[in-house]
Amino acid sequence: MIEHSIPATQAVVTLDVALPGIVWGWIITMNMWAKSIGTGVLFVGFYLLKKYHSDEKIQAIKMPLVMISIIFIHIFLLFTVLDLHQMFRFWHIFFYPHWTSAITVGAWIVTILVGVLFIMAGAKYFNRDSIYDSFFPLAVILAIPVTLYTAGIMAESTARELWQMPTEMVQMTLSATLVGSATLLLIGNNSFSDEAKRDLAIVMGLSAFVAFLLYMGEYIFGSMKAEEVGAVLQAVKEGGAYSSMFWVGQTLAYLVPAFLVFLSVTNKSYGTMPLASVSALAGLWLVKHVWLIIPQLLPMS
């Protein structure tokens, strides 16, 4: 039970419509997860390519990087459209845009980003690196609102108090840097220098650590500020499926990678980074899923 009735009244709801159930389910989790990878590789990849501009092995990731971004942004778009109850009306967003909606703003910017990514892929394919390089900063700039607009949608979801701005904005950014660095650690595992791996590991470890702190802050202090947040967090605190999923997610996404990164950086040995990366990628899905679902368990009427 997540309600807080007044004992003296013994108030029991004896007739109300059933809750609509989970309206945004695993399809939206897929959407957020894939988007984090698609934009995260751009953020972290940009840093890597700039810092190691004369390292051939790092420069060799230009094509894989843009392809990974294109693939995951398209997975994100596919699941976005799949979740629409009227998916063949998706074009309405372009012909009847309503600019107060974060959904609209995000859809437009991600469309431009996809165009830029295709230009970069084409430039690389025809060995026109100068075009690739000149479009990369634009892609990174566009990837920022693409990463953040889901936080905007959550902020506009007035009914779900758990999703607060600017916390969600920071969480979305950290999700992107976490899985962006994890993905690049996986693709560069056999070729990157230890120095590059160390950089990526530090980005991943710090992202994991700070994201974990934010979730714990909400877990411990959230209910002290808002009745609804407290009621929602009961779903995690009382045990049950979402409680297990929450803690497994936190462990895989944040604790395991942060711990392995700490060990790797102190020992200067990066053999466990593939494991840490897979853990971060799998864990983030669970973390996002629980956070998406639990506010939807709250009765609104």
């Binding site: 309600e3 108030a11 029991v12 004896t14 629409l84 107060t100 909606s101 949608i153 009765p299 609104m300």
Partner: protein
Amino acid sequence: MKLGFLVDLNLCMGCKGCEVACKVENEVPISSWRLRVKYVDVGVFPDTKRTFTPLRCNHCEDAPCERICPVSALHYLDNGIVNIDKDRCIGCAGCIMACPYGAIYMDPETNTADKCTYCAHRVSSGLMPSCVVACPVEANIFGDTEDVTSGISQYIMSHNIKVRKPEKGTFPKHYYVGGGEINLNPLASVRKEGHQLFNNITHLKFIGGHH
């Protein structure tokens, strides 16, 4: 003109006449409601009472559903009604996530969002919303809240009124007389498994097999 609604809960007897009238007028599909009367039982036997609270869209002045709708399917009419254009809706369910009152449902027959429109189609031809007409005790009062001589304005001036979740900053245009914590705050009453009068609600499957 800013149309508003007021329910005098001291008069409401929970007959659900308004709910049925709404279903018929708006062809609301099975398992969906634009307006429903919530029952909350209070007290310990034999000292118990049942409270009745009709719940519908509040036609908020600062409506989160209108703000989040990416295609303006949810939009304001000049008279303050928050209306919905089902042909425009893409079914993203953003509005369902945004409305703090659970007033919006996904229509399983059209796969689009829907909700109470204060019977905008009837209002535009000078008729009262069908729930107002159906109420046998005239507990539903509907009218222009900007006209101080209207019935609803007079009622507001002479009674103590409340709105649902004022802390959300939505400025509901739906008022209650006789409302309290128990019936207006969903967290102030318990929902016990199997303790509802209707336990087995049949849900229609969405057309096209959408989850």
